[in-house]
């Protein structure tokens, strides 16, 4: 069957088997491999993309269900080479280690801050609990989202909390 949608601002269409998952369309037909598959069951969130502005787990959706939708993947988040504040926050506050969960985590955090750019730590933690990270213990991910929130509010982010070597 043929499916058509807008991905990262570009109109795309592809001939796929009806059972094709959205994440496979994104990765294999569109070659946007930043969206990852970690569990195929929707628990880990590595496959998170924005569909019509809302975060969805693209491994538990069929490509056909996204017909006509507007999708943004991690590759579409930076604006003309300028990092999104959440991407900047992850870099500045060491919010990633192996980087595999990172695209999904960033997409969820970006959606969270779009709805509320001044979340409490608890709101951040609940906002990203659908995305699993095995490397960071989430500590620096929370700091990264706080950094991004401050940037989006036009405020100076808090200093890093690691103890520098004296």
């Amino acid at each position: 069957m043929n499916v058509s949608m807008t991905v990262n601002g570009r109109s795309v269409s592809a001939d796929v088997e009806p059972r094709t998952l959205l994440v496979h369309l994104i990765r294999e037909n569109l070659n946007l491999t930043g969206t990852h598959v970690g569990c195929e069951t929707g628990y880990c969130g590595a496959c998170t993309v924005h569909l019509d502005g809302k975060p969805v787990k693209s491994c538990t959706m069929l490509a056909a269900q996204a017909e006509g939708a507007t999708i943004m993947t991690i590759e579409g988040l930076a604006n003309n080479g300028e990092l999104h504040p959440v991407q900047e926050g992850f870099w500045e506050r060491h919010g990633l280690q192996c980087g595999f969960c990172t695209p999904g985590m960033i997409m969820s955090a970006a959606a969270l801050l779009q709805a509320n750019n001044n979340p409490s730590e608890e709101e951040i933690r609940h906002g990203i609990e659908g995305n699993l990270c095995r490397c960071t213990g989430y500590h620096n991910i929370v700091r990264a989202v706080e950094y991004a929130g401050a940037k989006m509010r036009g405020e100076e982010p808090a200093a890093p909390d690691w103890e520098e070597v004296s």
Partner: protein, 791 residues
């Protein structure tokens, strides 16, 4: 913004721009023209004879190119293992299966979906045999897992007898005698350190290509040990090392689960060679749960004997460790890592026995900490129980028995020497930074209000960055994979003609930021900006030698090799600079990207000029060879022994058993620190995995050997909402084992956290009379313990 200084500074990671924009390249992201896809048929039963295996229908299904079974690959032998005690894994099931998830047949098809579909076309009849799952029953040999083995107990580690050549003293009589003393307080607990699934978020993936024209393999794999995989492929297929190229691109987490060489890596390469087309396989999460190595899986009884005033007199552990059905890489050797730190930070006689037992389950091997979290858990839990018994503060009892700062290097009963330490100083700092006195007051207040608030303390010492080289004699190397019998580090530093530097290292990151840390080491040594340094890793064609990433060894061993190579390059550059400046090499000083004569900074020569000269014979000194590079290997004279103490404050809901973590403080000591940012990140992640074991994770097989926790719904990892922010601090006690004075930090957090959490929860419910709860401390289990105590 993070600082941009080099050694000791938190440089923003060089690897991040690609990863945060979705441009990181993991194995499953790669594709090839004519790519074929693999799916494995895996056993659905734990123990059975295969009476019929019919692949004919599958072979006729759409898109199917080949279906392979044991007969097709029997000539390649079983999967190689470094410690081949027990039964080795056949590449595909050889007439019998021994655990759920064992690979029975391999389908190769045009598409991933077609390969999966064809699994339904394979018919297998199993003659089911009784499964051996329970560890104690397995150890009793009531039913044997493998007929050809004498016993299910395939090895037993004892403290004094693990390496006969060392002639170590058996301290068991001392411990037994202490128990007979009139003033002895003896505390004993039977505890489980449950089996875990490592769960790197990236499932393992392999892409193999074989070019018959060049007789060469190119294999991309999500592995921590590309050289070991290359060696295993060369050995298995009878090829030269120059004919096998293994590449580990971005690796999405490892934690030990990608430290094994796996049968699927060999099988995918086999298919690529047979079919003359590139072949890829990416594991599904459910597959991974049953066929990527597991960790831990111990039951045992710990006993501590001491005086009424808190002096330890001896410690005894009697445990059984689950090996699973087949021995892979280091399987049987994992408890040995625990043995080396069995006495923790304390000076006392030890009696320690761990029996290695086979069962009809997936193989266990190194999962973050590997033997060390298990050993420290038993020790630190029983110390906690002892302190409670004699009514002594948990910090005080520990400090009373620590090795003292002036006793290092301190030789333990296992023969190893603790390289350096100041254990009491770390505890004193923790007491101060956490406001321990205030925490106890808040706990008292909460208890007075009827709330169940607990404070748990846990110390640890770790052994990592393994050395000396003589360990190869007891199997610590990759010699069975065709690599040298050592765990030496390797580093190559090359200054290019444009004054950039290329660094080639024998270890690679699975998230630890090697590209940044190594750029800092070299940048600091040469005065070349970090952004002009490219760190290459994970490609066996580029690297002279590589042992890989495991055992928290990268910086202290391979980092040291790079540090030494940097010094050699600098010495050579000084000769060239001296020639250009018409001065003596020993007078040359490097500063701000240039060299000048000491005391005369006005007359200098830039790195660009030095680098260019190095590659043109007519401008370099006569006695200096062309080029500007050095390759150095480093053989550590001892392991490094990081340490620390953690503390958690928790509140238990008296009605539901739900545990909330209120505070988590640590003081860790990994010697000198290259990047505080990266070191803290390692500790954060380590703590989260330790808390994961303490609170949530449990790999469960039922009595028939069915894997009950094959999805992330049944095997809950900690989420962001489950964890607090962590309050990290450090002391710095440099290691004398390497010139940078560094120790490992990758596993420390995990080794410190699990017992700290259990100690905290037990402290919370101790007023009810609870003495111990086995992990994971999910609400039901805590609630049941409280109910039992109340009854």
């Amino acid at each position: 913004m993070a600082t941009t200084s080099v050694m000791g500074g938190s440089v923003r990671r060089r690897e991040d721009p690609a990863l945060i924009q979705g441009y990181g390249e993991y194995v499953d992201d790669l594709t090839r023209t004519g790519l074929l896809h693999v799916a494995f048929l895996r056993s659905t039963v734990a123990r059975a004879k295969i009476t019929r295996l019919d692949t004919s229908a599958a072979k006729g299904m759409p898109g199917v190119i080949a279906v392979y079974t044991h007969e097709d690959v029997a000539h390649l032998g079983p999967l190689l293992a470094q410690v081949p005690i027990g039964k080795l894994r056949p590449l595909l099931a050889a007439g019998e299966v021994n655990h759920v998830g064992e690979a029975v047949a391999m389908v190769v098809a045009e598409t991933r979906y077609q390969a999966q579909d064809a699994l339904d076309g394979i018919e297998v009849d199993y003659d089911i045999l009784p499964a051996v799952i329970d560890l104690k029953k397995a150890a009793s040999d009531e039913t044997k897992v493998h007929d050809e083995l004498e016993s299910n107990v395939i090895h037993t580690w004892t403290y004094h007898g693990y390496w006969e050549a060392l002639g170590l003293e058996d301290q068991t009589p001392q411990v037994d005698a202490a128990m007979e003393r009139d003033d002895a307080v003896v505390v004993s607990l039977e505890m489980t350190n449950q089996r875990l699934i490592p769960v790197a978020i990236e499932p393992r993936s392999v892409l193999a290509e074989y070019n018959p024209g060049y007789s060469c393999f190119t294999v991309h794999s999500s592995t921590q040990v590309p050289h070991a995989l290359g060696g295993a492929l060369a050995t298995t297929f009878g090829m030269k090392s120059t004919e096998v190229r293994v590449i580990a691109p971005e690796v999405g987490g490892g934690f030990g689960s990608k430290l094994n060489v796996y049968n699927d890596e060999i099988l995918v390469a086999f298919a690529a060679k047979e079919l003359g087309r590139p072949v890829k396989w990416t594991k599904t999460r459910r597959e991974a749960a049953g066929s990527t190595i597991h960790g831990r899986g111990w039951v045992g009884t710990a006993t501590l004997v001491g005086t009424k005033d808190g002096q330890f007199l001896g410690y005894k552990l009697d445990a059984i460790a689950d090996m699973g059905a087949y021995s892979q890489n280091f399987t049987v050797a994992i408890p040995l890592l625990g043995l080396w730190i069995a006495s923790g930070q304390y000076k006392m006689p030890i009696s320690w026995t761990v029996a290695c037992v086979v069962t009809n389950t997936m193989t266990t091997d190194a999962y973050r900490g590997a033997g060390r979290p298990e050993a420290i858990y038993y020790l630190e839990r029983i110390i906690d129980a002892y302190a409670r018994e004699i009514g002594m503060d948990p910090f005080e009892v520990r400090k009373k028995n620590f090795w003292q700062a002036d006793e290092f290097p301190a030789t333990m009963g296992c023969g190893f020497s603790l390289d350096s330490g100041n254990y009491a100083a770390a505890v004193d700092k923790l007491i101060e930074v956490s406001d321990y006195a205030g925490m106890r007051q808040r706990q008292e207040k909460a208890r007075a209000e009827g709330r169940l608030v607990g404070i748990g303390v846990g110390s640890y010492v770790e052994v990592c960055g393994f050395g000396p080289a003589v360990l190869a004699e007891i199997g610590f190397s990759w010699a069975n994979y065709g690599l040298p019998a050592s765990f030496n580090g390797s580093g190559l530093v090359r200054v290019n003609p444009d004054a950039t530097a290329t660094v080639v290292i024998g270890t690679g990151p699975t998230g630890q930021g090697h590209e940044t840390t190594w750029a800092q080491i070299v940048g600091d040594g040469l005065g070349i900006p970090v952004e002009d340094i490219r760190v290459l890793h994970g490609d066996t064609r580029e690297h002279p030698m590589g042992i890989g990433t495991f055992g928290s060894r990268s910086v202290s061993v391979d980092g040291t090799a790079t540090f030494e190579a940097t010094k050699k390059v600098r010495e050579k550059a000084a000769k060239i600079a001296a020639h250009l400046l018409e001065a003596a090499a020993e007078d040359v000083v490097f500063e701000d990207g240039a060299a000048h004569i000491a005391g005369s900074p006005e007359k200098s020569v830039t790195w660009k000029a030095i680098a260019k000269s190095a590659y043109q014979a007519h401008t370099s000194p006569e006695d200096v060879d062309s080029g500007l590079e050095a390759h150095t290997s480093f053989s550590p004279g001892n392991a490094t022994w990081p340490f620390g103490t953690h503390m958690a404050m928790v509140e238990v809901d008296p009605d539901t058993g739900d545990v909330e973590i209120l505070e988590y403080h640590t003081v860790d000591d990994c010697g000198n620190v290259i990047s505080p940012m990266i070191v803290n990140g390692q500790v954060h992640g380590g703590i989260a995995q330790g808390i994961g074991q303490a609170m949530f994770e449990d790999a469960i097989y039922d009595a028939e050997g069915n894997m009950l926790t094959g999805s992330l719904l049944d095997y809950p990892l900690p989420t962001a909402a489950d964890l607090p922010s962590f309050d990290l601090h450090r002391t710095v006690t440099p290691s004398p084992i390497n010139p940078m004075g560094v120790k490992g930090i990758g596993e420390a957090g995990t080794i410190g956290a699990a017992h700290t959490m259990v100690n905290a929860v037990v402290d919370a419910v101790a007023p009810l009379g609870v003495k111990h709860i086995d992990m994971p401390l999910r609400p039901k289990r805590v609630w049941e313990a409280m109910q039992e105590a109340r009854a």
